[in-house]
Symmetry: C2
Subunit: 199 residues, 2 copies
């Protein structure tokens, strides 16, 4: 079901959909996936539960669609001519506040995506795979330019390196991930592992 | 309160304490921290709730003590003469089953440690800090041997690199972290980032 179909079916406005998605993400960060109820979403958005179920079918679909909606656009257009520039550009799209909010969402979902098959599948198809594809594009161009050797073994771990630093920052340092932290991590870890000297 | 004090106070045997800790960790992996109740621990271990509260005070202390108890011993004695050897040795202490179980524990706690101050403090003091200290020892020896330049910026990110790969493996690849995966990640990412060529 596309958002358009949802809008058409109930004459719900796109603004209203955006409002509901924002409330879902707020609740998710506050209480986590398991404790998030359709009742709470209905109460906070002054909707009826019947409307929510009619529009989204259930909690897993509502949550994943809300997350996909707040994701920034594709990086297809980040093409600066160097791997360092592309990776910095990727980070630069998002403000520190958005990154902290995303880190909170990851924590809220960490357990649920492993115990709920529907949620995991939706999460993977709608969020993880597109992310991996974006990295593939950036890395492919770096290999084509001759910046990175095509057999460099760190190429297999691009996502682990970056998502790992993002996900562990708060736990290890009791500070949220920020743009400065990720830029510094890219220059200290990701580029040297790929055999590229940061400028 | 040390485990000894707990044992003395109620004549509970160390075997019984180990049994209760194992049940707590099982429940934690199954339902997560928020949904874990002292009732469930009491039921599964055929203890009374009064006993559990008397021994451990509350849920946060019981959970963190259970986690600390199952942690393998210090790596103080892993000293192979090379950074690669030490890092591989660190991984080699744990079997794949234990690593998968630990990844499940991390997921179960990811949200709770951020929303519960007591739990976060206990988690940090009893689990994160000792882990960081172990890495510091390994890295210090590598710097003293001249393997790693003392100003290498990746030195600040040892824990992010390793814990990050461990934590994101299941999400990204839908496979649990294994010894082979972590060894390969160390050789592909961690050592090259530190300017060390894996053998």
């Amino acid at each position: 079901m596309t958002e358009d179909a949802a809008v058409r079916r109930s004459r719900i406005t796109p603004e209203r959909v955006a409002e509901i998605y924002a409330a879902v993400l707020d609740l998710l960060r506050e209480v986590g996936y398991d404790a998030l109820t359709m009742d709470a979403v209905a109460a906070r958005t002054r909707s009826s539960k019947a409307t929510l179920y009619r529009q989204w079918g259930g909690k897993a679909e509502l949550v994943v669609r809300a997350m996909r909606c707040q994701k920034p656009g594709s990086t297809g257009d980040v093409d600066t001519g160097s791997l360092q520039g592309d990776l910095h550009g990727l980070i630069g799209r998002e403000g520190d506040y958005v990154m902290e909010q995303n880190a909170a969402l990851m924590r809220a979902l960490a357990m649920a995506v492993h115990t709920n098959d529907d949620l995991r599948r939706a999460f993977r198809d709608l969020l993880v795979e597109p992310e991996i594809d974006e990295f593939r594009g950036i890395v492919r161009r770096a290999v084509e330019r001759g910046e990175v050797h095509p057999d460099n073994p760190a190429l297999d771990y691009m996502v682990h390196m970056l998502v790992g630093a993002f996900a562990t920052r708060t736990l290890i340092d009791e500070q949220p991930p920020t743009r400065d932290f990720l830029i510094s991590y890219i220059d200290a870890v990701v580029l040297p592992a790929l055999g590229v000297s940061p400028r």
